[in-house]
């Protein structure tokens, strides 16, 4: 029985990651500044979850071509509901109801009004749009309808921000509890770095930012933390073992020892996410893309941000030796 010795990585690498820390910090700071600038300059393309309004996905037996889109735009434009976005959905999977170009996505901007009036206004906008479209194409089918008033969308924004903040605080506390405070500061700074850059990416690309994006960001936080913890775990182990070595040498050693694991795990996760991105359909594409981006950033930050930060926070050398 011949058992192949499959290995993609040399037995031991000694890449000077820590030496590159200033370049990495520079790069990270640049990315963070660029992200914040993009956020304020371009904002985010918020989905209906956060803005409120009406979104409909429709299908007709006949193909929805440019002429039909124009026709619908004309009819809906006369309803006086403000800006209306129309977009044909082209679907490549055979067997799907939208195969070809039979479906379109319609987004109606949130309607104004005070209190309950505004809630009712969204409902009425939905009914007006449906009445107009059914008048135009009697065979039209509503594949999905979402109507959100300002109250709920406002709360979802709050809950989204809260959930990210709470997750970060809990991570801080957990790492503090399991390691030392120096580790938890480093880990959480790396997480904040990941979150800011991911949001910046959404601002630059103007991809829709919705509830699944918040889910993606929280998962990225979990994943990046996971990566960081593995590296930290090894750092703590080596710090106890090599008391004589310089801290930067120990950090570098630990990063290199966990490097093959870091890359392999990122790779399997990316493999799974790519299949989601390519095959999972439009609804999950934004989520998959955010995750793919976040995994890359999270892996980078564990190696180039979280570990070198320990040099700055001056981690204790005699942990749990007393």
């Amino acid at each position: 029985m011949s058992l192949a010795l499959t290995q993609y990585f040399p037995d031991s690498t000694s890449i000077p990651f820590i030496k590159a820390r200033f370049a990495a910090f520079g790069f990270s700071i640049l990315m963070i500044v660029a992200s914040i600038a993009a956020f304020f300059a371009m904002g985010l393309n918020f989905g209906i979850d956060f803005t409120g309004g009406v979104t409909l996905e429709v299908r007709t037996e006949a193909e929805i071509d440019a002429a039909r889109i124009d026709e619908m735009r004309g009819v809906l434009g006369n309803l006086g509901l403000g800006a209306i976005e129309l977009q044909g959905l082209s679907e490549l999977t055979e067997g799907s109801e939208c195969y070809g170009s039979h479906c379109a996505l319609i987004r109606v901007q949130p309607q104004g009004g005070e209190g309950l009036e505004a809630e009712v206004a969204q409902q009425e906008a939905n009914l007006a749009v449906q009445a107009a479209l059914t008048g135009l194409y009697p065979d039209i089918e509503y594949r999905s309808v979402q109507v959100l008033g300002p109250k709920v969308s406002g709360e979802l924004v709050e809950a989204g921000i809260m959930s990210i903040v709470i997750a970060l605080v809990l991570m801080l506390v957990y790492i503090w509890f399991r390691f030392e405070w120096q580790y938890s500061v480093g880990a959480v700074l790396a997480l904040v770095h990941d979150v800011i850059i991911t949001i910046g990416m959404f601002s630059v690309t103007q991809l829709e930012f919705n509830l699944s994006t918040i889910a993606a960001i929280l998962t990225i936080v979990g994943y990046s933390m996971n990566d960081t913890v593995v590296v930290y775990d090894r750092i703590r182990e080596k710090i106890r073992k090599f008391k004589k070595k310089n801290l930067d040498e120990v950090l570098n050693l630990a990063i290199n020892m966990t490097l093959s694991r870091t890359i392999l795990t990122s790779f399997t996760t990316l493999v799974a996410l790519f299949s989601l991105w390519l095959l999972g359909g439009a609804a999950l594409q934004g989520f998959a893309f955010a995750m793919i981006f976040g995994i890359v950033i999270g892996t980078y930050s564990s190696i180039f941000v979280a570990a070198p930060l320990l040099l700055l926070t001056n981690v204790k050398r005699e942990t749990s030796e007393s």
Binding site: L3, A4, L5, T6, S12, D49, E57, R59, T93, G95, E97, L116, Q123, L127, E141, Y142, R143, S144, V147, L148, G149, V152, L156, A159, S163, I166, A167, L170, M171, I175, R178, S212, I214, A215, L218, G222, Y223, M225, N226, V229, V230, D233, M257, R261, L264, T265, T268, T269, L270, V271, A272, L273, S275, L278, L279, G280, G281, A283, L284, A288
Partner: protein
């Protein structure tokens, strides 16, 4: 780490089989519960209604003001200079300063103790009304206490849910979910119904029905303008030939006295039949006997639906309502009347509906993406770790089974984001194996024997595996607590997947490796 007592082996096998047993009904004809699909996958409507609590509060304050009037009229009467609802208070001003004490004492009876203590909320025990007395202004201000507001809110929501349930059940909708959401909202989920307009109307109608005498002596303009004497109001009528009509403000009878409502046909017209209880029948009989020849109005939520003439005394306590009904609208009105009026107005604040076509598309795509991702990860693990890759792939297969089993057994809801969570878990689940195998490699290079290196690999990797999974579990937990709708489904599968993956990757794969070491006693590690 490599030694397993027999009972441990039995336990591991038992847990695995149990997971497979629960998962089996999903892909085989075995009986049992299958995964509960979310509305975004099976199609259906998700509606959230908000209860108009400010409206209820205003009504209560109005009631307090009227009760105060009654108390002040009792002999000896206390003359008042004002008695009105201003903002969140009822402001009463007595005419003479010497009446202040008596007035203050009298209206104390308006404040009642709250509940029977069963509300279970700290601080709820107390009284309903707070009094604020100002002798220099000769005023007493009455306001509802916080405890009273909580009590009113909880009762209003509980009653509303009860009414909604009766209405939806009677409409023939299958398996609806009706539940309180947060402080002042009610969630209604209706699987399989992708056009929720009828449900919205059924739930969103207050259905407060009253019968009033018509005042044909009051002139009403074409746009509803007109001079209304005290005690008369002008209402819109659901009839184009007479769009507005003047009626007496005081109701003869109200819908609360109905015991039965149903729909039927009369002379080819859809009508609603009703029957009063004894109190209602007596009142209705008395008024109709005294007012033969006059008209009365059937008013539903401030709209007159019909205004027939009283042809003779109606003493039996039953009758029919004619109006602009189709058979369906007559049926729905009967359902509403039979179920009773809502205690407060409800407004839709969130509506998400998905048609069956989109749901099926999502299932197909999601399944395809899961299978593809699963195979790709397995191929990769096999290429990276050969025999050990086989172990981790077996663990991964079991993991997917356990996730499916847990979802079915717990009857958790699988949503589209939930499918994303499964795919992500597949990618991340092998992490534990990668950690262990890399550690084994390292220990093996340091000159340890295979068994020894494996032993060390598992034990040294444990703390990193636990830390890493607990942090991801924290993220999933936060998402579950604060996430809304389908995103919660993601948190559920991610959370379940993390727990099962620790079992399959750390425990189950270790058993496989241990059996291999014990059976073949390898001299060299194929890793």
């Amino acid at each position: 780490m490599l030694y397993f007592a027999n009972w441990k082996i039995a336990l591991i096998i038992a847990v695995s089989l149990l997971g497979i047993w629960f998962a089996a009904p999903n892909f085989s004809p075995l009986p049992g519960q299958t995964v509960n699909l979310g509305l975004d996958l099976q199609g259906g409507s998700h509606l959230v209604f908000e209860v108009d609590l400010p409206g209820v509060r205003a009504e209560r304050l109005d009631g307090l003001s009227q009760e105060a009037t009654v108390l002040f009229r009792q002999q000896p009467a206390i003359p008042t200079a004002a008695n009105a609802v201003i903002g969140d208070e009822v402001v009463v001003r007595v005419a003479r300063a010497e009446d202040m004490n008596e007035a203050y004492n009298r209206i104390q009876s308006l404040s009642r103790p709250i509940g029977d203590g069963s509300m279970g909320l700290a601080g709820v025990a107390g009284r309903t009304v707070a009094f604020n007395r100002d002798d220099s202004e000769r005023t007493i201000r009455l306001s509802l206490t916080d405890a009273a507001m909580i009590d009113i809110r909880d009762r209003t929501i509980a009653q509303s849910i009860e009414v909604i349930r009766r209405r939806i059940d009677a409409s023939g909708t299958t398996e609806p979910t009706i539940a309180r959401q947060g402080d002042e909202r009610i969630l209604v989920q209706v699987p399989g119904e992708s056009n929720p307009q009828r449900i919205i109307e059924l739930v969103g109608t207050t259905a407060r029905m009253t019968f009033h005498l018509v005042r044909s002596d009051v002139a009403v303009g074409a746009n509803g303008q007109g001079r209304t004497p005290p005690g008369v109001m002008i209402l819109q009528q659901d009839d184009l030939s007479e769009p507005y009509i003047a009626v007496e403000r005081r109701a003869m009878v109200s819908g609360e006295n109905l015991t039965y409502a149903g729909s039927s046909f009369q002379d080819g017209q859809a009508v609603v039949e009703f029957r009063f209880d004894t109190t209602g029948a007596a009142a209705f009989g008395r008024v109709t006997s005294q007012n033969v020849g006059r008209r009365f109005a059937v008013v539903l939520d401030d709209i007159v639906i019909s205004s027939p003439r009283i042809l003779g005394p109606i003493l039996g306590g039953s009758g029919i309502i004619t109006g602009n009904f189709t058979f369906e609208s007559a049926y729905d009105l009967a359902v509403l009347l039979q179920a009773g009026a809502l205690p407060a107005e409800l407004t839709v604040v969130e509506q998400r509906s998905v048609g069956p076509g989109l749901g099926q598309d999502s299932i197909n795509k999601g399944t395809f993406a899961v299978v593809t991702g699963f195979i790709a990860v397995m191929v990769f693990m096999l290429a990276a770790y050969s025999l050990f890759g086989v172990f981790s792939n077996l663990a991964l297969m079991l993991n997917v089974m356990l996730i499916l089993g847990a979802l079915s057994g717990l009857q958790a809801t699988l949503t589209l984001p939930g499918i994303a969570g499964i795919i992500l878990t597949i990618g991340m689940a092998v992490d534990a194996n990668v950690l262990i195998y890399e550690r084994i490699r390292e220990e093996s290079r340091n000159g340890r024997t295979p068994a020894n290196a494996i032993e060390k690999g598992y034990s040294e990797a444990l703390s990193a595996i636990l830390d890493a999974n607990i942090t991801t579990l924290i993220a999933a937990g936060v998402l579950y607590m604060l996430g809304a709708g389908p995103v919660r489904g993601f948190a559920v599968t991610l959370g379940i997947g993390i727990i099962t993956s620790v079992f399959t990757a750390f425990v189950f794969s270790r058993l496989l490796v241990a059996m291999w070491v014990k059976g073949l006693k390898p001299k060299k590690l194929p890793i």
